[in-house]
Amino acid sequence: MQERPQTLARATEGDANSFATLLEPLLDPAYRLAAVMLDDRSAAEDAVQEASIKAWRKLRQLRGEVGSLRSWFLSIVANECRMARRQRWWSVVRLPDIRTAAEAGAMSDEPATDLKAALLRLSPDERLPLVLHFYLDLPLEEVARTLGVTTAAAKSRIYRAAKKLKSDLTLEEVF
C-alpha cells in the first residue's frame, strides 16, 4: 500500500500500466456496482471499461490523492451506468443474462429472491447507496464522496432505500 503514492505519481505522469495496477483492486467492486445499477452483466463490464478510460483521461482531477481514488473511480462508474441507461437502445434491445446452474439454484432461495426483486424495483440511483454501504462496506464518508453529497445526505439515502426493501427496518439496524 505504501507504494501506491509512487504508483499514482507514475500514473499521473502518463504511465498507463501504473494506472491499471491502481485500478485492479477496484474493478471487482466497480463491476458489482455497475451490475446492480444496470441489471446487465455484459453492460456492466462495458461500463467499467469505459469508466476506466475516462478515469485515465481525468486522472489529473484526482490531484494525487490516493485515499480518494476508490470513491472517485466508483463515482465515475456510477455516472457511466447512468449514461448507459440513457442510451437510446437501452430499453429497446436487452437480452436476459444467462445464469449458471449454481446461480439458478441460489435464486430458489426464497427470501433472497424476494429481496432481489425488490432491489431491482428500486431505481438505479436508489440501488447505488445500498451497494456502497451494505455490499462494499464503504465508510459513510466514502459513500458520501461517491454520491457527491454530504455524509448526512448519504445516510439518509441509504436509509430511505433500505426502508423500501424492508419497511420495518430501524435506523439502528441499518447503521
Binding site: R41, E45, E103, K116, V131
Partner: protein, 251 residues
C-alpha cells in the same frame, strides 16, 4: 430480521444479480488503458493547437477586418499623433506630400497639396457618393463622403488661398464662406446616382464653414471646402462603409 440478516440477504441478492466479473475484464481494461493515449499528451497538443489556431484567426481577422479604421490612403505632413492632441502643431508644410502615405493609422495634418492618390480598387468603374456629412470634433472639423459601389479611382486634395472655386467646366465660379479653401477631386465617382441630399452644407464650425459639391460630371466629383483659417488637413479612406474622411485642423 436484524441488521446482520438484512445485510446478508441483501448481499446475496446483489451477488445473485451481479455474479462475478469475467476473467478477461482485468486484461481488457489494462489493454484499453495502454492503447489510450495519456490525457497529458493530447490535451497539451490540443491546447497548443487551439492557441495557434486562435492566434491565426485573430491575425487573419485583424488583417482583413473591414471595420479596421486604418487608412487605406492618408494625408501627410507634420507629425500630429492625434487629431485633438496639438492644434498648435499646425501649418508647417510638408516638403513632400507623398513621402509617407498611410504610414500611420492616423495621418498627420498637412497644409500642402497631395498628389492624386490611386485607391486600391481601380477596376471599379464608378463609386457612387451616397452620403455627405460634416461634424466638429476636438481639434478638427470633419467632412465625410460616403460611397457605395466601392472606392473611387483616385483622390486628390488641394488647399488653396481664398474660397473661389470653379463650378465644373462651365467657367463659372463660386465664392464660398471662409478665408481659404480646400479642393477635393474625386475621380471615378459620381454624386447623383445614389446621393440626393444637400449639395451645399454651411456650418459654423471653428474652421470648416462650408462644404459644397462643385462638380459632378463624367465620373469626376469635386468638392470645395470653405475654411475659416489655415487650410490644413488630413484625409483617409476608410471601409465598411467605404468613405473618404477629411479632417480640417481646428484650434
Amino acid at each position: 430480521m436484524g441488521n446482520e440478516d438484512f445485510r446478508r440477504e441483501l448481499n446475496n441478492a446483489i451477488d445473485n444479480i451481479s455474479g462475478s466479473p469475467s476473467h478477461g475484464l482485468r486484461d481488457r481494461v489494462r489493454s484499453r488503458l495502454i492503447e489510450t493515449p495519456s490525457r497529458g499528451g493530447p490535451f497539451w497538443i490540443a491546447g497548443v493547437a487551439a492557441v495557434t489556431i486562435a492566434v491565426l484567426i485573430v491575425g487573419i481577422l485583424f488583417v482583413i477586418n473591414p471595420n479596421r479604421n486604418n487608412p487605406i490612403i492618408g494625408g501627410v505632413g507634420q507629425v500630429s499623433p492625434s487629431p485633438s492632441a496639438s492644434p498648435s502643431a499646425t501649418t508647417s508644410p510638408s516638403p513632400s506630400p507623398s513621402a509617407s502615405p498611410a504610414a500611420s493609422p492616423t495621418p498627420a495634418f498637412t497644409c500642402a497639396n497631395t498628389a492624386p492618390i490611386t485607391t486600391q480598387q481601380p477596376a471599379n468603374p464608378i463609386a457612387y457618393v451616397s452620403a455627405l456629412r460634416t461634424g466638429a470634433h476636438a481639434g478638427y472639423d470633419r467632412v465625410t463622403i460616403e460611397f457605395s459601389n466601392g472606392e473611387p479611382a483616385s483622390i486628390e486634395v488641394r488647399p488653396q488661398a481664398g474660397t473661389k472655386f470653379a463650378l465644373g467646366e462651365s467657367g463659372q465660379t463660386v465664392t464660398m464662406a471662409g478665408k481659404n479653401g480646400i479642393l477635393v477631386v474625386i475621380r471615378g465617382a459620381d454624386a447623383h446616382t445614389s446621393y440626393s441630399g444637400p449639395r451645399d452644407l454651411k456650418t459654423n464650425y471653428p474652421r470648416l464653414v462650408e462644404t459644397r459639391i462643385t462638380e459632378d460630371f463624367e465620373g469626376v466629383v469635386q468638392l470645395g471646402l470653405g475654411i475659416n483659417g489655415p487650410a490644413c488637413y488630413r484625409f483617409s479612406v476608410l471601409t465598411n462603409p467605404t468613405r473618404l474622411v477629411i479632417d480640417v485642423q481646428a484650434p
